[in-house]
Symmetry: C2
């Protein structure tokens, strides 16, 4: 509760029954039809259905690992590390992730899903669409599943956001003892994406969750590109 006021509880509700998403589908309309959405909610949408709706699908030979690697290299601006078929790459968005974020699972055989061209823009479109459908202002996060440098297991993070902060800056605020805070910038967008994943699950195919009860001060203009992607010049490990 950085915004002051009484501590509030959070609820995370999966949106079910949306069915298969394909190119050209109106995601906001489908989400509004199946989800219970009120003002101040943050709607988390997985990259996969965003990429599908935006037609970001390419053919790939399912029997040829080299074909996959070629696609991953094509989607990268830089290959940071290579171990067998796994490439850690930097995408043109500035994401550092496995296989340039290209998704070979939950896509029809012979196809792969690329990351959205501009995930912040994707989030803005869904947010605008939800406003048109429901009349309420919500935040939207497009989430994806990334590994971490020093820790095993993947977690969901934000690759795009709109109407919700990427990072909340607590610089200048004080801790409970009145001293200036040391760790000041909390990436709430990634934490919200992680919370949403807990009700989605990888295997169940639930692609959307609604997070309710967040600090209203976080519901402001936001951008993953501007707030979360670390500029290469400030990076200690690239």
């Amino acid at each position: 509760m950085t915004g002051g006021g009484a501590p509030r509880s959070l609820t995370v509700v999966p949106v079910t029954g949306m069915g298969e998403i394909g190119p050209g589908d109106d995601l906001a309309r489908i989400i509004a039809r199946h989800g219970d959405i009120t003002a101040g909610d943050v709607v988390v949408v997985t990259q996969k259905i965003v990429s599908k709706a935006e037609g970001r699908l390419v053919e790939v030979d399912p029997d040829d690992p080299a074909d996959r690697v070629r696609l991953v290299e094509k989607e990268a601006v830089r290959v940071l590390r290579r171990r067998g078929d796994l490439l850690i790459t930097e995408t043109r968005h500035g994401f550092v992730c496995a296989n340039s974020g290209v998704d070979f699972s939950n896509v029809a055989s012979g196809w792969a899903a690329l990351l959205p061209e501009d995930p912040d823009r994707s989030a803005r479109r869904i947010r605008d669409g939800l406003r048109a459908e429901t009349g309420v202002e919500v935040g939207v996060i497009v989430s994806d599943t990334f590994g971490r440098t020093w820790r095993q297991g993947v977690t969901d993070i934000a690759i795009g956001c709109a109407g919700v902060a990427g990072v909340v800056d607590l610089r200048g605020t004080t801790d409970a003892l009145g001293r200036e805070l040391q760790a000041t910038e909390v990436c709430v967008a990634d934490e919200i994406a992680s919370a949403a994943e807990l009700v989605m699950g990888k295997a169940s195919g639930i692609p959307v969750a609604v997070v309710r009860g967040l600090d209203p001060q976080w519901l402001r203009r936001g951008s993953v590109a501007d707030e979360i992607i670390r500029p290469a010049a400030e990076d200690l490990f690239r």
Copy 2:
């Protein structure tokens, strides 16, 4: 929902009114007195009050940055990067983090809080204590706030856990289209810690949150040390 069954909602409830924690305090008793805890919940406890209760406090000269650096170096087995007063280190637990996890905020002036000696053991003790106090089985996560290599802003992650999985292995399960999953190991402990942080806030001094509605299959023996810390030999960036 990796365990099958109907999709469930998640709630995250802050535990308030616990007051200042000091060396020797019985955390489980204090949490049980102030929190509403039922079987199957996961209780997330921030490192700072665990360190305080365990007396992991050392004196440090608040006017001497070099004194801070000396302490951080003493708590590290390796310094990976150095930029001004910021050190990225590997702790004896195997965590790679800023300043060896030493905490200079939310501690009385002239003091710093070190990481618990064995955060998995800390989590087990709290879990055992909560069982004794309440009669119910819960999971416990000890959380801390870490930066990330490629992304700006900090998020809360798990440094210790008990009675809840660190990583859930989905290897061998299939996606919604019946194909084998690509990203298979989800670090649910870190995602739960992140979800909890959303109701704690850095500035508000709420040190505990209760997460309800998790997949019951995740409530099993768990360990951050065994499941989440990436062995240096498997690390592509150290």
